[in-house]
């Protein structure tokens, strides 16, 4: 499968000065995505090692690139799960958690905290294992900050949670078509429906008794929810200014 890669993306510029910003601007022409990136087959025992190992996730020119193919998509998902997990970790550990939210809200947010940490840790273990024996690298722990989010304010936290969950759903919906390995596709499916359950619950806490749980601004007249490719999602997430660690996604569509 031949793909044209023209996307150059950067995230989290706060730690990057102008000079290093320039190094993100990398133009990639035509690259082959395929055999080498079936992670499970990435040991040196077959022809899969002839694949373009340069697309595996790892540091290039001093900045971590998510990579391409299945490795890149899974690492992209891992980055998004890191963000969600970190956000809810801060929510439930806020000193005012017990007073800002009622019992139902605390239960929902505590569950989301657990689920997102589990997703993050799952990807960490699964990707780490799949990259063994390759020259790919596991995405390091990203750093986060939440300018503009008031963890002691119900509306601020729930609004941010809604944005993150809605983003997660459309990101997974859009990523599915890029996954080569059917097993990984099913795993992404196992996670995205939980994200959609989250999105629904958060929206119903914000606007109970309304259509907000599955709203018309996210679901079109065919009854289809949004699906966006990585090159659309990553700038949207970057614009939230939550991710402080720079990385690139030069090999994802």
């Amino acid at each position: 499968m031949k793909k044209t890669k023209v996307t150059v993306t950067e995230l989290g510029t706060q730690k990057a000065g102008l000079a290093s910003r320039r190094s993100f601007l990398r133009v990639t022409g035509l690259t082959l995505a395929g055999t080498g990136l079936l992670l499970a087959g990435c040991n040196n025992d077959d022809d899969s090692s002839s694949g373009p190992s340069g697309e595996l996730p790892g540091v290039r020119n001093g900045v971590f690139d998510l990579g391409g193919g299945d490795a890149g998509i899974l690492t992209y998902a891992y980055a998004l799960e890191q963000l969600e997990a970190d956000f809810y970790t801060r929510v439930v550990n806020s000193n005012s958690f017990g007073t800002t939210f009622n019992a139902e809200e605390r239960q929902v947010l505590s569950d989301l905290y657990a689920h997102e940490v589990l997703h993050r840790e799952f990807f960490k273990v699964a990707i780490g294992a799949a990259l063994e024996g390759t020259n790919g690298e596991l995405l390091p722990n990203l750093e986060f900050n939440y300018p503009g989010v008031n963890f002691g304010n119900r509306d601020s936290v729930l609004g941010t949670a809604k944005a993150l969950e809605d983003t997660g759903v459309k990101a997974y919906n859009g990523a599915g078509r890029y996954i080569e390995n059917p097993e990984y596709l099913v795993i992404a499916g196992k996670i995205v429906s939980v994200e959609a359950r989250h999105a629904s619950a958060i929206a119903s806490l914000i606007s109970p008794g309304t259509a907000a749980f599955a709203p018309n601004d996210l679901i079109d007249s065919n009854g289809l929810e949004k699906a966006e490719k990585p090159s659309v999602i990553i700038p949207q997430v970057a614009a939230l200014n939550f991710i402080q660690t720079a990385f690139t996604a030069a090999y994802l569509d």
Binding site: M1, G34, T35, L38, G41, D47, S48, V108, D111, A114, H115, V117, L118, H119, E121, F122, V125, A126, A129, V169, Y172, N173, G174, G176, R177, I179, E180, N181, P182, Y184, L185, V186, I187, G189, K190, I191, V192, S193, V194, E195, A196, R197, H198, A199, S200, A201, S204, G209, T210, A211, F213, A214, I219, D220, N222, G223, L224, E225, K226, A227
Partner: protein, 272 residues
């Protein structure tokens, strides 16, 4: 997603049209006339498009027949849901005013899903079955709101699992797979909302069908207790990794499980 674009790609790749194996020569000409420049592509055997890389091994596991079967299962489930919610909305006094907006929104989606799948399947679309939502008198969902919600939960949770189970069968057609995923997440939003109306969590705990759900619905939840994904046992490594300890339920809540086609068909088949 532009439905015309989807149908176009669908047709170009010969997925559905080439399935009508029994189609007459005249039908073939009609098909090719419709697809225009796509005709050349449509004539290429489906699998041969994937022979150049290792992904072909995975793609070859799925035949076009499987792809249509996946869509037909989806259409059966959507027919079921569409009629279920429309009947409920037309049953005077059934739905409390506080829940009207919710049920109407779900109904709108299910109606749209039926139309979408009928268009995608074209001549392969099956007719709507005659449904009996009382299952021979065992349920009274259009006079009893609790029973309506019980069946709604069962249908939505089944839908999520069934679409997930068919994703792999659709992966040869990216537009089609994406559309299925876009429906899948909508069903999950519905499921969460219905479950929460019933006082449950929006997510499935272990293989529990949840308070108030009759034994007859257990088939919807069997297998949801799985904690092994891609060879990784989430509960085992979390216990040994120094991560925070979560309640046992979290490990299964965080991952929804697929359901195979025969199981989903058997559940739907109870109602027609």
């Amino acid at each position: 997603m532009n439905i015309l674009k989807l149908i176009e790609s669908f047709t170009n790749e010969g997925v559905v049209q080439s399935l009508s194996v029994k189609s007459s020569r005249r039908d073939s000409f009609t098909q090719f006339g419709k697809v225009g420049t796509g005709a050349a592509l449509a004539a290429i055997p489906f699998i041969s498009l994937f022979t150049t890389n290792k992904a072909s091994a995975a793609a070859a596991m799925f035949s076009p027949e499987t792809e249509v079967a996946a869509l037909k299962l989806a259409l059966t489930l959507e027919y079921l849901e569409k009629e279920f919610y429309l009947t409920a909305l037309n049953s005077t006094g059934l739905i409390p005013s506080a829940d009207q907006a919710i049920i109407a929104q779900i109904s709108q989606h299910e109606t749209a899903h039926v139309a979408f799948l009928q268009t995608a399947l074209a001549a392969n679309a099956q007719a709507k079955p005659e449904f009996d939502f009382t299952v021979g008198g065992a349920f009274d969902p259009f006079n009893n709101y609790d029973e309506f919600l019980i069946l709604a939960q069962a249908f939505e949770d089944t839908g999520v699992r069934a679409y997930k189970g068919q994703a792999g069968n659709l992966k040869s057609n990216g537009d089609l797979l994406t559309a299925a995923l876009q429906i899948h997440s909508v069903e999950a939003r519905h499921a969460s909302q219905i479950r929460r109306l019933r006082g449950l969590k929006g997510w499935i705990v272990g293989n529990q069908r949840g308070a108030g759900m009759p034994e007859a619905t257990q088939a919807v939840y069997n297998g949801e207790e799985n904690t092994i994904h891609g060879g990784v046992n989430i509960s085992t490594f979390m216990a040994s990794s120094g991560n925070p300890a979560f309640g046992a339920g979290s490990y299964t809540e965080a991952f929804d499980e697929p359901m195979d086609r025969p199981t989903a068909e058997a559940i739907a088949g109870l109602f027609y």
